[in-house]
Symmetry: C2
Subunit: 195 residues, 2 copies
């Protein structure tokens, strides 16, 4: 039962992701989103929007990738997407150290396999990783639209700053990129986002 | 773009699952768990514990199933696992009506496909559904162990009542069933659960 015990320690450890708060504000519950429910939402987006990934994309792999992509925040916390570069570099270092610790809770081979999925997401070289990263960018935009501005209003973000993030969505899926452009232009005309 | 628009309406609608509170108390954040983060935890358990499913189980299918199994709670709310039978019957009816509404937001074929996964989970006839249902039973036990009693203490649940739920876990995975029995006996000896 040693493998199973190690796996269960990992399953219990990752419960902490439910306590990591993101910037995103949820329209319904009226509170900040945590990284566990964010990861669930991305996984449901992977299932729902699978047909908009490039042909041949392994959507099961995308789903696993988005489920675990934020586990490192248990140690490193969440960083706002519009933070400056110095902060982003410090964050990357903290996240690598967190990945070393958290995936090592698992049995050897399995820890390496899941760590590999996390590295793949970070490196953004495969179609699966690019689609997953696109979903990760798109989801907060949907949340801000639903909340009537959300973090855009709170932090005085402009349409140009949001548009600069669309390349990452387009890189994962042309259709989702086009959808994001429409969403931004719609948000500007409804006054949710400064032009 | 009509299919994509329908899919995005579904993706926005399901955000509401983050506001559905369960009985389970989270040890870390010190609050009740919501159904979105519960679903994320089950999906991570499916990924992590895949090797304990019977040979030939399609774990990708299990993952999709647990991700969407609680969507009906957006309309029907969550029911405590130890509620009486009359309440459970009313809940089943409310959940079917919710499934009719929520999956119909999706394009026709896709709505039917995801509804099919939900029905499969409920009917518990395939190895995938049985493994998924087992995870759904096991996760609150892990939470109660971590919280030092949790809902067991709060509702005066006894070891016999918890043991009666183990058959459902064993039905999905012999190893996870054995693990659950040990967890219960450990919880009794630590005073987290009344014998």
């Amino acid at each position: 039962m040693e493998r199973l015990d190690q796996q269960m320690r990992f399953v219990i450890e990752i419960d902490k992701l439910k306590g990591v708060l993101r910037q995103t504000v949820l329209a319904g519950p009226g509170r900040r989103e945590n990284s566990a429910e964010h990861s669930w939402h991305l996984a449901m987006m992977a299932v729902t929007l699978a047909e908009h990934a490039p042909p041949g994309t392994d959507v099961g792999r995308v789903t696993a990738m988005v489920l675990l992509h934020d586990l490192v925040e248990i140690d490193a916390g969440d960083l706002f997407a519009y933070a400056d570069q110095a902060r982003q570099l410090r964050q990357e270092e903290a996240e690598r150290a967190a990945a070393d610790r958290i995936f090592a809770l698992l049995p050897d081979g399995q820890g390496g396999e899941l760590r590999g999925l996390w590295d793949e997401f970070e490196e953004r070289r495969t179609p699966e990783a690019r689609f997953a990263r696109g979903l990760d960018r798109l989801q907060p935009m949907l949340a801000n639209l639903t909340a009537g501005g959300g973090t855009w209003t709170e932090h005085g973000i402009t349409a140009d700053q949001v548009l600069a993030k669309v390349a990452l969505i387009e890189d994962g899926s042309a259709e989702l990129g086009a959808f994001a452009r429409e969403l931004i232009s719609d948000s500007v005309s409804r006054g949710f986002l400064a032009s």
